[in-house]
């Protein structure tokens, strides 16, 4: 019971830390990491749900299946977020350098 509680509270703590970072940090990469930390927190709580002491009966397989599915979802969403963040970075850099060039040559007004 203690172990279960410890892991669950740890998961909840991770979720809250991730939530704080998601709101407080402005860098896109940090935001993506924050979402991943939150997801890990939720998975940890799920795993703790399935915890049973040795010899206390069969382990419930449903939370494990849910965590596996959740990890797959989280990996693919992270990939999409990374691509999108890279794209945003590229276009904003490009428009920035374009702007500088225009300022330099006096064009673009």
């Amino acid at each position: 019971m203690i172990t279960n509680m410890l892991y669950s509270l740890g998961g909840l703590l991770l979720f809250i830390m991730g939530l704080f970072a998601l709101i407080a940090c402005s860098h896109p990469l940090r935001k993506i990491l924050a979402v991943n930390v939150m997801a890990t927190g939720v998975f940890l709580i799920l795993i703790a749900t399935a915890y049973k002491q040795a010899g206390a009966g069969e382990i419930d397989p449903v939370p494990h299946a849910m965590v596996l599915t959740g990890i797959v979802v989280s990996v693919s969403v992270t990939a999409l977020a990374l691509i999108l963040a890279c794209r945003v970075q590229e276009t904003s850099n490009r428009s920035l350098s374009q702007q500088r060039k225009n300022d330099f040559t006096g064009a673009g007004e």
Binding site: P28, M66, L84, V88
Partner: protein, 505 residues
């Protein structure tokens, strides 16, 4: 060939768009043909499911014949079939419009080939999005619903970024983060539920209702997550940039269908599964937020200078009406309220997609969507302007539109349950809506002096007519009002119960 009575028809609305989406990835040339076939097949399958529902009542189906605790159950009842039909009709319209949109050739050296590139990715993404939407409406399992929520947000975000403009990419990134936060909050709620009850099936959960701190926290987490995705005030901040900067068919999809999916799930959870744990303050809170959303969204829409942003803020405002119904459902006999919510969702879905389509057509021809410079559009796009005006009639809620029926039901039940202030907000919202609709429509019709009618660029009829047809469907929804009500009553046992006794707990 399976017979028409076979319950396995329920998987067709999920499999068909998914298969079409995969085929679109493989062969680009036939992408539109596959998508159109899937849209028509989906409409047919929804019709057959409706027929089954009316003859034998709610259906459920275990995928792969695995039973409830382990397997994934699909089920269909009144609200689900109405959402499915709404998606089928609006989706067919959007599919046709998208064809017209992408076959429009923009002149200008840098822009040549842009539509071909966008179209290549549009069809597979749209079809997978459609499959996940149908999956959400048909799922009967909390965790499966989480998966469909994520499956919806992935193609929705990719579609929002499709236009390639920096503004749309930034908006899409923010949209992705918000919807991830929403999904994770929902998932944490699901975990709490599983810890308490040990089941995820909606029907099993409904029979095990008990209140407690754990359930309250779980419901709060799930609701906040879904409200974020539904963009209820003050969590609407991501919606206008994401919807306004996307391509026109994508804006129509996002505004008409995607926000409805998370709302539908929220609605089901509150009034179906956890009806006994809902308290009055919680309902009043949602109603208040909905009321603020109506006024705030409408005021913002009036202030906008760009047409697509105006239409996007109008979505924020219209979503508020869906939440006004929550506190009314608590005291009043439930039937009217359920009908009001469903009517609002159906009418808004058709009207708003028509509005975004019309705005997109105008954008393509004029090359911009600054409202002040759009005078005289009716001289070269009469059908589109007509469609916009008809959709506007719906948004304002004039008879005989579906929007009128919904608002009428809301106002009358607010008076019957002596909560007149909700009715007042509904009326104020309609007044404000007429301001932002007429502001644009009057501009369309004014032809300034010395106005030179631009050469009409050739375009496919698909660019104009789907919007008009959808707007007319929304307008005529009021005339067939008893029929959807009949479907609701036969479909949901809970609805029948609520309509007799109200939600007095």
């Amino acid at each position: 060939m399976i017979s028409f009575d076979d319950p396995s028809w329920i998987v067709i609305p999920i499999i068909l768009p998914l298969a079409a989406g995969l085929l679109c990835f493989l062969t680009r040339r036939w992408a539109f043909a596959f998508s159109l076939a899937a849209s028509l097949g989906n409409l047919l399958a929804s019709g057959i499911l409706l027929k089954q529902l009316l003859s034998v009542g709610p259906l459920s189906y275990n995928v792969g014949n695995w039973k409830a605790p382990l397997g994934i159950a699909l089920r269909i009842d009144g609200p689900a079939i109405l959402m499915l039909l709404m998606t089928a009709v609006t989706g067919l319209g959007i599919t046709l419009y998208a064809r017209g949109y992408f076959s429009f050739r923009i002149s200008g050296q840098k822009k040549i080939g842009r539509h071909e590139r966008q179209e290549r990715f549009f069809w597979p993404l749209w079809m997978t999005l459609w499959a996940s939407l149908n999956g959400l409406f048909l799922s009967a399992d909390l965790f499966n619903l989480y998966v469909t929520l994520e499956l919806i947000s992935i193609p929705a975000v990719a579609l929002a970024a499709l236009s390639g403009k920096p503004a749309s990419q930034i908006a899409a990134f923010r949209y992705l983060l918000v919807s991830l936060l929403g999904s994770l909050s929902y998932l944490l709620g699901v975990v709490f539920i599983y810890r308490t009850y040990g089941v995820l099936d909606l029907a099993l959960l409904g029979s095990k209702t008990a209140s407690g701190a754990g359930i309250g926290a779980a419901l709060a987490l799930m609701s906040v997550g879904l409200l974020l995705k539904t963009a209820l005030f003050p969590m609407h901040f991501w919606l206008p940039p994401a919807h306004a900067n996307a391509l026109a068919p994508v804006s129509a999809i996002l505004s008409a269908l995607v926000v409805k999916a998370s709302f539908y799930l929220l609605f089901r959870l509150w009034f179906d599964v956890f009806a006994s744990t809902i308290t009055e303050p919680a309902l009043n809170l949602l109603g208040t937020l909905g009321g603020v959303a109506i006024v705030w969204g409408a005021l913002q829409a009036i202030r906008q200078q760009r047409l697509k942003l105006l239409v996007a803020y109008s979505t924020v405002s219209q979503l508020g009406y869906l939440f006004i119904a929550f506190p009314l459902a608590y005291l009043e006999k439930g039937a009217d309220i359920w009908a009001a919510v469903i009517f609002m969702a159906l009418a808004h879905s058709c009207a708003k997609s028509a509005m975004f389509m019309a705005a997109g057509t105008i954008f393509l021809h004029a090359g911009h969507d600054r409202i002040n410079d759009l005078a005289g559009v009716r001289s070269y796009l009469p059908v589109t302007v007509f469609a916009y005006a008809i959709a506007g009639v719906n948004i304002m809620g004039l008879p005989p539109s579906g929007g009128f029926i919904a608002k009428w039901l809301l106002i009358s039940s607010s008076l019957n349950s002596s909560q007149w202030w909700w009715g007042l907000i509904v009326m104020a919202g309609s007044l404000l809506a007429s301001v932002y609709v007429f502001r644009v429509v009057s501009r369309f019709f004014v032809i300034p002096e010395g106005y030179h009618v631009p050469d009409r660029q050739p375009h496919s009829p698909l660019l104009e007519w789907p919007a008009l047809v959808l707007a007319l469907v929304a307008l005529l929804l009021g005339l067939i009002a008893p029929y959807p009500l009949h479907i609701l009553e036969t479909g949901s046992s809970l609805f029948a119960m609520v309509s007799q006794k109200g939600l007095l707990l």
